[in-house]
Symmetry: C2
Subunit: 343 residues, 2 copies
C-alpha cells in the first residue's frame, strides 16, 4: 500500500492520506494548546500515520519550534563508574519525560566541555547537564561562562552537577562536608596518622574533599595529613599509593579522594604485600556500585549517583523561572571493614 514513495513519509503525506489539511494533521499530534481538533479527524490522522509508519522529522520541528527534545550530558569519562551511574540516572529520568540524551565524554580534558557545549548549542539542545567537577582555572571558567551564556541566549538551560561556579541551576555535592564527616568518624575510631591520596589540584571536587578531610582532622585535634597527588583514576590511585608506600611514612589510615583511586590503592597494597585493614586502613568517596565486590569492604562516603543524575534532569524539565536553583546532596559516611576501630 505504501507504493513506491521515494523519500521518507512526511506530515503532508499523512494529511493527504487522512484527507485533512497539513495544519490539522500537525495539530492532531501536538494540539496541546487548547485541544481543538475534533476527535473524528484526530482519529483519522492517527490511523493514517500508523499506516504510513510516520515519524515526525525532528530537525524540521526544531526549526519551526526553535528548540528540540534533546538534552546534552557531558561527563569526564563515561567508562568511569561514577559517571556511568549518573548517566544511568539521567537516562531513566529522560525516558520518563520522552527526552533524548546526547552524550559528551571529555576524556578529562576540560576544554572539551566548551566544544561540546558549542556543538550542543548548534543542535539547539533544550538543555545540557555538566556532570563533572569544575576546575580551578580562571581563563577556562571565563570561557565556560561565556559559552554557557551563549547557550542560554540560544534558548537552552544549563544544569551543573558538583560545584556552584556558574549562575545556573546546580546540584551541589557536599564534598567538603562529607569528607569532614568521614575524618571525624575515622578519628573517633582511633586513627591518628593520616595520609590523603589527593586528585589533581585543579579539580575542585578533589580539592574540596582534601580540604574537608583536613578540616575534620584538625577539628579532632589531629595535624595535617600527608598528601600525595595522583590522577583522579584507578591508576592514579595505584601510583599515589605506591609513592606513599615508597616514602615509608608512618601512616595508619589513608583517604583516597574517590573510590576508583581507592580501588587502585588497594591493588597497590596487595602488590606490595600489605594486608588491609591489618597493616593499613583505607577509605574512599562516592560509593560506586563496584565497591560492594571489593574485599575488604571499603569505607566511603555515599553519594546517591543515580538520584543525582535523575535530579539534574528534573531540574532541566522544571526549568522556567530565571532564578538559578540549587539542590544540595549530602554524602553519607558508610563504615566498612577497611577501617575497623583501632585496638
Amino acid at each position: 500500500m505504501t507504493e513506491h514513495e521515494s523519500g521518507p513519509v512526511t506530515l503532508m503525506d499523512v494529511a493527504n492520506e487522512a484527507g485533512v489539511s497539513l495544519a490539522t494533521a500537525s495539530r492532531a499530534f501536538n494540539g496541546s494548546m487548547t485541544r481543538k481538533v475534533s476527535e473524528d479527524l484526530r482519529e483519522r490522522v492517527f490511523i493514517a500515520a500508523k499506516k504510513l509508519n510516520y515519524s515526525a522529522n525532528a530537525p524540521a520541528q526544531a526549526m519551526a519550534r526553535g528548540h528540540t527534545n534533546v538534552v546534552g550530558l557531558i561527563v569526564h569519562d563515561i567508562a568511569d563508574p561514577y559517571f556511568s551511574s549518573i548517566a544511568a540516572g539521567v537516562m531513566k529520568a529522560a525516558e520518563e519525560h520522552r527526552l533524548l540524551v546526547t552524550l559528551g565524554s571529555t576524556m578529562r580534558r576540560p576544554e572539551r566541555e566548551l566544544e561540546y557545549l558549542a556543538a550542543l548549542r548548534g543542535q539547539r539542545s533544550r538543555a545540557v547537564i555538566l556532570a563533572g567537577s569544575r576546575v580551578d582555572d580562571t581563563r577556562l571558567l571565563a570561557a565556560l561562562r561565556e559559552e554557557v551564556e551563549a547557550f542560554e541566549r540560544s534558548g537552552g538551560r544549563v544544569v551543573v552537577i558538583s560545584q556552584q561556579k556558574l549562575a545556573v541551576d546546580t546540584v551541589i555535592l557536599e564534598n567538603r562536608r562529607g569528607a569532614r564527616d568521614l575524618a571525624t568518624e575515622l578519628a573517633g575510631l582511633g586513627y591518628r596518622r593520616f595520609a590523603v591520596l589527593a586528585g589533581p589540584e585543579r579539580l575542585l571536587t578533589a580539592r574540596d574533599r582534601l580540604q574537608g578531610f583536613s578540616s575534620g582532622l584538625s577539628k579532632a585535634g589531629i595535624g595535617a595529613p600527608l598528601v600525595v597527588q595522583g590522577e583522579f583514576t584507578r591508576d592514579g590511585g595505584y601510583a599515589a599509593m605506591t609513592q606513599l608506600l615508597d616514602a615509608k611514612a608512618t601512616v595508619d589510615c589513608v583517604f583516597a579522594v574517590n573510590d576508583v583511586m581507592a580501588v587502585g590503592a588497594m591493588a597497590a597494597c596487595r602488590d606490595r604485600g600489605l594486608r588491609l585493614p591489618r597493616d593499613l586502613a583505607l577509605a574512599g568517596f562516592d560509593d560506586i556500585a563496584t565497591l560492594r565486590d571489593q574485599t575488604p569492604g571499603l569505607t566511603t562516603v555515599r553519594l546517591p549517583l543515580e538520584q543525582v543524575g535523575a535530579l539534574a534532569l528534573e531540574l532541566v524539565v522544571t526549568a522556567d523561572g530565571p532564578t538559578p536553583r540549587q539542590r544540595r546532596i549530602r554524602g553519607e559516611v558508610i563504615m566498612r571493614a577497611s577501617t575497623p576501630a583501632k585496638r
Copy 2:
C-alpha cells in the same frame, strides 16, 4: 559590539558582518565541493563568525542536507561496565570524526530498542549502533527488522554489535568460539565437573556462550555441564551461584557466562564461606575493566570492548556500499588465579 541582538546569531548575521552574501558564507564553511571561495573572503567570514560566536543551526542544516551528524548508540544498560566500555570506544571514535552521539539505554527491555530506533529515525540520525545482544523472539525480530528498514529508508545506516541477525553491518563477537576455547583450556587444566551460570535463555549472547562451552566440554570428552539460569547481571550471578551451592552438586569449576555474573558469583561464594580457587574454580567472559581489581584474578575470555565500540563507529563512517559487511572479533582466553591447574 554584539549590540542587543535578540535571537541566536545566524549565518546571515555572519554574512552581513563579513560583507558577503549568505551563499558565500555558507560555502566558506562547507566548501568541500571543489573549494572555490577565495581565501580572502573565507578569512573574513571566519573572523566574523568567531567575533559573533556563531554556531551553525544543526536542525536547519539537517533540513537542508537531509541528514545529521548524530549517531545513535543503543545499549542495554549504560551502568554496566561492558556497555560503558563499548560506549567509551564509540565516543572516542565519534570525536575523531566530529560526530555527536545520542545514547539510548533500554534497561534490558528489548522493545525499547524499537522505540529508540523510531526516535532516532525522527532525528534523522546518520546511523545507529545497536550494541546489545539480539534476543530469540521471532515477533520482536520481525518488528526490529521493519524498524531497521524504515530507518535505512530514511537514509540512515544501522550497525549491530553481537550477532548477525539483520542484513546490516555487524561486528560479530565470536562468543561461541571463545567459550569453546575456554572450556578446552579448563578441561586441559584437569577440571571435570562443570556448572554454568547461564543468562536468560532468549539472550543470544548468553545462549551462544553456553552452547560453545558445552561443545568444548563435549569435545574434551566431558559430559554436559550443570546449568543454572540467572539474570545477565551481578545480582543474577549471585542468585544463580547461591542456587547452585544450595543444590550441593559436586562441581569443581563454574563458568559464568559474563563477568558481571561471575563477580556476583564470587560474592555468593564469599558469603557462603567458600574460598576461591581452593574450594571451587570460576571463570567469566568479557574481561571488563573492573576485573583487575578482583581477587583472586578471574579467568575470562577477553573481548576488546573499546575497540569493538570504535570499530562499530568506523563501520558507520565508512558506510557507502550497500553490502552488509561483517567484522569478526575473537575472544582471547585469559587464564588467571581463579582457575589454577588441578593437583
